[in-house]
Symmetry: D2
Subunit: 261 residues, 4 copies
């Protein structure tokens, strides 16, 4: 049925499965990781075929995952490429793309008391195949804050502060080795201050004073991350978006920009 | 089929329709309102019946809404009671409940420059029937902020500030006339400062200084709203929950409490 | 402060306000509509300016909304263009974009019993200004279903059926008059069957039989909508995405494609 | 500051931290599990104290998690109880509650071809302390489907089918050992058919035919799960809610009930 002539003759950019959850195991620089990502796997569909054989897409995922139990992949993108390579043997395509969205938890030390905290970040890793070449998109979402320099100037030092979240996305050939943790660090250092799950009084004072010494608009954060990413990840396409959840407004403010690879 | 003996003999607390969107028109104190609420309408189901006649529940909603075009109801809860009364003629029940969740937009003036702003609030109105009597639950969700008094004391005036949201819920007999706008005001006045969609520089300075003059923990906000609601709405069951989106942490902090009617 | 030299010299694609809710009133073909959209308004920011004057963006929205109470605009995109024109007098920009996301409720008749139902659709309207010209993007999200032709063939008539949602997006110059209701109809007719909030037994039988007479994969739905949109809205850029919430899987299936203007 | 007299003298039911993400490691029946739950930890607050020492709540979490790296707990609820016991030494309370919300992935075999699939379930585990005793709440959310018996009868075999999700929640003393996987199985067997991430044609035919042999309303599913849970988990408080995402309507249908412990 899927190989029949379709009702409407039209090439489709991408068809496949989405919002599929499974377990992904990796071993990156000697540390083992377990993720439960939400996966999307799609291929292009020629105008001569009515449908994709969706179960072959799922099989490429489940067979790769099964194999992982004995053989850990080195990174999330390595899992993705493995799935695309397996799919190639099961189903024809010109283009294919797999994305995995999950959480990354990183251990930190609090700034003054040196206690261990666990900090979580949203990550999104996508691998695409086109014309014999693999590319990847790596994205991290990092929480921080904005501190209004305008209000600070107007009031002689008092200001409004709020939680902000910055998304940094890199687009690059598959072989360019990039550490998601480096991407997180690259964003975190730009905020008025890093934030922590645990802050004892001494730490809290340090963070509050650092925020006031370093006030930034949402525009400053986005520009700072672009600047840091350009230096740290040369040659990559860069996409940065910051959303600040204003404490004096019901709406959010946004600053977004892109740098071509 | 619905009137058949069920596979398992068991009374069900509530069965019905949920996440149904439609238009609701009201006229409250001479002003016309249009809402597009998400509606849930449920009844209890006796162990002798396999299923509810769901289309009769939907019909009670659509017929009431159709009638509204000529006859505006006075309030959202009046629409709810109308739907329950109509349902009573179509389908047997011992208990029935309808809830409507929507947004309420209220016009305000900015604190210093007196400009018009439009502020939005989440509202939830539920009417229930049991044993011949109607009760209602009214809920508003209001955005504001928290300003940490502990950090302010430790640093000699600097602190962390963040967006917070407080939910105030009242439970009371149907006939107790309560204005949702009064509930909103009751919450808004407790925050370190009210917030506005529009703030010119002069207004922003006013809000920032008010926040610093009036620092509050999440616990202070919840207690303040309980206190204000007890005075303003005597005899009602009161439920208050505040969630503060910390600017120095990735997690939120919460303070919640209830006062019996 | 906003006009100062930024910390990092970098042009920003877009900065502004997002997730702002307000009331929008329109009068389209003689009928009055009230919406409570979520609004995003952004402009580009030159590398010489540290920040945008965000309050001027909000003012452009609130002043346009205030005016509406006496003067209803003809469409959501007319409201958007009005806001951009007002902003032009308050704040310099090279590019500007406003988007409004809301629900549209349309009255229908059930297929057999002819009863009135109210059906709701997600709509998104965006107007952008660049180089003296205005363009718009119109998007509708319509619920329907998919009915697996493969299972039907394998079992001799039985199959799995599930809810699906199709997004149709058109990109076109501002002056191209397009009715959102036409876009909705264009999608709805492609599904195996239209769906309704209210279905009496006779209507339900009609819908179930129509679905079985007309089985479609997610790929069929996306192709059918592209085909219908190309005929109905010639010259527009077309983007279609269908997601089917499989009743036999935990994941969804997706088919997406684009046609250049 | 937190130990000061509050602005309003009022006992608070619960104050604490919410939406905190971290890593939780367990070893249940010899298998190792890694979760990244969303955590909420709250305590009651006496009317004499202005605020809770929130950092002590977070410390109880992070210290327990740190310890886990060497010492795996046996279950999610064991992690929860450990955190409450640690908190007791740091901060006074009368009542305390911790909840953890995460995903559980279970390996299955497809019904006919016997291939391995990975199926995911939402789980929520809460442990509460009150008056010297610990209780727990265990919740699983399981996807399946409903198949309308009414339409099937009316049309002579054709019907509408849709994805449904059932939540089963048990309330019981902490020491009552319950396997989340048993709870999942208890729900899954009640649906018209189990669902799978991977289905080859033979499997798909089996599932479609099982669904048609076994049509169920949303009410049937909820009653079936109550019945199964009462037999499988005697003495527990039981709460069941099923939501069916109708393929012939835009809204969902719901059936919910509770059985006292």
């Amino acid at each position: 049925m899927q190989d029949n002539k379709p009702l409407v003759s039209e090439d489709l950019e991408r068809v496949g499965v989405t919002n599929l959850r499974t377990i992904v195991l990796t071993e990156w620089k000697g540390r083992k990781y377990t993720f439960t990502p939400k996966i999307e796997l799609t291929i292009d569909l020629d105008r001569k075929k009515r449908g994709a054989h969706m179960s072959r897409l799922v099989e490429s995922i489940t067979e790769t995952i099964e194999e992982e139990i004995v053989l850990r992949h080195g990174s999330i993108e390595e899992v993705g490429k493995s799935i695309l390579e397996r799919l190639e043997k099961k189903h024809p395509f010109q283009k294919a793309q797999i994305s995995m969205e999950t959480d990354l938890v990183i251990s930190r030390k609090t700034p003054k008391t040196g206690k261990t905290t666990m900090e979580s970040y949203g990550v999104f890793v996508s691998v695409s195949y086109l014309g014999g070449a693999y590319r990847k998109t790596l994205r991290v979402s990092v929480m921080g804050n904005t501190v209004c320099p305008h209000a600070m100037e107007q009031t002689g030092g008092r200001t409004h502060i709020q939680r902000a979240e910055t998304m940094l996305e890199l687009d690059t050939p598959y072989d360019n080795l990039i550490d998601l943790e480096d991407m997180v660090n690259c964003v975190e250092k730009v905020f008025p201050s890093e934030i922590y799950s645990l802050l004892k009084t001494e730490d809290e004072v340090y963070v509050v004073e650092k925020m006031h010494a370093n006030p930034k608009f949402v525009e400053d954060v986005t520009r700072g991350v672009i600047d840091a990413a350009r230096k740290r990840f040369p040659g990559c396409g860069i996409h940065v978006k910051t959303i600040s959840q204003e404490s004096i407004h019901r709406h959010d403010v946004i600053a977004e920009s892109r740098v071509e690879a």
